[in-house]
């Protein structure tokens, strides 16, 4: 731990306090943990919609003639393939292939990209990108200050955005998409009270939903407009606690839990984001930071793999608890892994967890246990995601 520093607050801080939120430090920021009940907020996102302040997320804008080539070099994904107004989940890795952060890259205007990083890693990611920019004609800009990021997530999210006062389409800035046609993992420009905002159909909850970047001075106004428009749809403000249980049900990794500097994307089951096949226009392989280590890692069997666990009892597993073989009665057997995230699943009604285990015990249906403070609680390996939203 470094020296104590004051946590930053977002442009929506006073709104959270007025709504009675419990605030918690998170990634250097003071963020809403919950407003009323974790479970009620979680269920609202699954059933209707939730409103989140995500202004703590890092946002680095990349412009310049080499922007796409630079991102192909700096990140593991094939970013030059991302069409205009598209978004892509990617990662920034070290030379040894370990994950420095997981990111979403938005191609938000022709040749203009936003790299959205986790709050706790935003400074590190900016520093890494600056180092990797040597020799590329690009400009990097930290655009997080001066902006807020508000998400509406849940099956009613699209209706709520359509009903939001002063949130309007403008063909001049939309990027060629009508709101009605905005696809999952795509983005568009819109106007809110005349100001340009960026609307991405992305999220971290396993539901349909939108993330909106708005100038800080319009943040409170947009927050209130969304809450007002959402009232008939039972929209509720939702905190980090619900966000964490939602992403866990959806099987999405959280940096610091499933991903860290001791992990490569392959162990995390996210090898698909590593584009060893990316080539330039002339067909030559594109070198990128971490490529050699990742190619070697892909070719060798991993020492541990990320699996989903379903609790057979009622007791949840928590991060860092040992995964063990079933022993005699409630005696834990030999340790075969570690839980990275765990919680009671509000939607499914039983405990769920993500864990790294040795490959021998990673097959679906393998009966394991988690050492819950000295007692072996039975868990079984299940597919991830735990929850998939109903498709229309």
């Amino acid at each position: 731990m470094g020296p104590a520093v004051t946590d930053k607050t977002t442009p929506l801080h006073d709104e959270h306090v007025a709504l009675g939120a419990s605030m918690t430090p998170f990634g250097g920021w003071l963020m809403p943990l919950r407003y009323t009940s974790d479970l009620a907020e979680h269920r609202a996102v699954r059933g209707t919609a939730g409103l989140f302040d995500l202004s703590h997320m890092g946002n680095i804008e990349v412009t310049g003639p080499d922007a796409a080539a630079f991102l192909d070099h700096a990140l593991v994904g094939w970013i030059s393939k991302v069409r205009e107004m598209g978004a892509r989940y990617s990662m920034i890795c070290a030379e040894d292939g370990s994950v420095l952060d997981d990111l979403i890259v938005y191609h938000k205007a022709p040749g203009v990209y936003s790299v959205v990083a986790n709050a706790a890693n935003a400074t590190l990611v900016l520093g890494e990108l600056e180092q990797r920019a040597a020799g590329f004609d690009v400009v990097l800009k930290d655009v997080q200050p001066g902006q807020a990021l508000i998400a509406v997530q849940g099956p009613r999210a699209a209706e709520i955005l359509r009903a939001t006062a002063c949130l309007e389409e403008d063909a001049e800035i939309s990027g060629g998409t009508a709101f009605a046609d905005l696809r999952y993992y795509a983005c568009m420009g819109m106007r809110f009270e005349g100001e340009q905002v960026l609307v991405g159909r992305t999220g971290y909850t396993g539901e349909d939903g939108f993330e909106i970047w708005v100038p800080a001075e319009r943040a409170v106004s947009l927050w209130r407009a969304l809450l007002a428009a959402g009232e008939p749809f039972d929209l509720v403000p939702a905190g980090l606690s619900a966000r964490d249980s939602l992403r866990l049900e959806a099987g999405m990794p959280l940096y610091g839990h499933e991903l860290d500097t001791t992990t490569t994307p392959f162990e995390a089951g996210l090898g698909r984001v590593v584009r060893l096949d990316k080539v330039s226009d002339d067909g030559a392989p594109i070198p990128f930071v971490g490529r050699d280590a990742l190619a070697a890692r892909k070719a060798s069997p991993p020492a541990r793999v990320l699996v989903g666990l379903r609790g057979e009892g009622r007791r949840p597993a928590r991060a860092d608890y040992p995964v063990v073989l079933r022993g005699e009665g409630s005696e834990p057997g030999a340790t075969v892994g570690t839980v990275t995230s765990g919680a009671p699943s509000p939607t499914l009604g039983y405990p769920i967890a993500l864990a790294y285990v040795t490959p021998e015990v990673s097959a679906e249906g393998t009966e394991l246990a988690v050492d819950v403070r000295g007692r072996a609680e039975p868990f079984v390996v299940v597919p991830v995601p735990f929850y998939r939203r109903p498709q229309n």
């Binding site: 943990l33 919950r34 009940s37 974790d38 479970l39 606690s241 964490d244 249980s245 009622r314 007791r315 949840p316 928590r318 919680a343 009671p344 509000p346 403070r373």
Partner: protein
């Protein structure tokens, strides 16, 4: 806002007990609020000997695990199986249906009045 019935005694660990025999014990609404939604309760066994100030169980919420302390010494007379089956009643009604266990009291630890507990929690 926080509510501390005058007829109860409290501990700095956010348990309450009443004056009946056996004494009924639960957690305060300050504890219920701080924990978040309670999802699992581990309570002492009926007949177990408990000591004032000692850990007798666990209260697990969506996000955290907290230890449950006994405010008194004695023998556990009854546990609230309804709360074990439906832990959300601890949040909904911490001084009523969400009680946790009953003890035949042989001795007490340091107990606070409602006013003292309110001062302790800054309410």
């Amino acid at each position: 806002m926080a509510d501390f019935p005058e007829n109860l005694k409290y501990t700095t660990e956010h348990e309450w007990l009443d004056g009946s025999t056996p004494a009924v014990i639960g957690v305060t609404d300050v504890a219920a609020e701080a924990l978040g939604d309670v999802v699992y309760l581990e309570l002492p066994e009926v007949g177990a000997q408990v000591e004032a100030g000692a850990v007798v169980g666990e209260i697990e919420s969506t996000k955290s695990v907290s230890e449950l302390y006994s405010p008194v010494s004695g023998t556990v007379a009854e546990v609230n199986t309804e709360a074990v089956d439906n832990p959300e009643i601890v949040n909904e009604d911490p001084y009523g249906k969400g009680w946790l266990f009953k003890v035949e009291v042989t001795g007490t630890g340091e107990l606070l009045s409602a006013a003292e507990y309110a001062a302790h929690t800054g309410n």
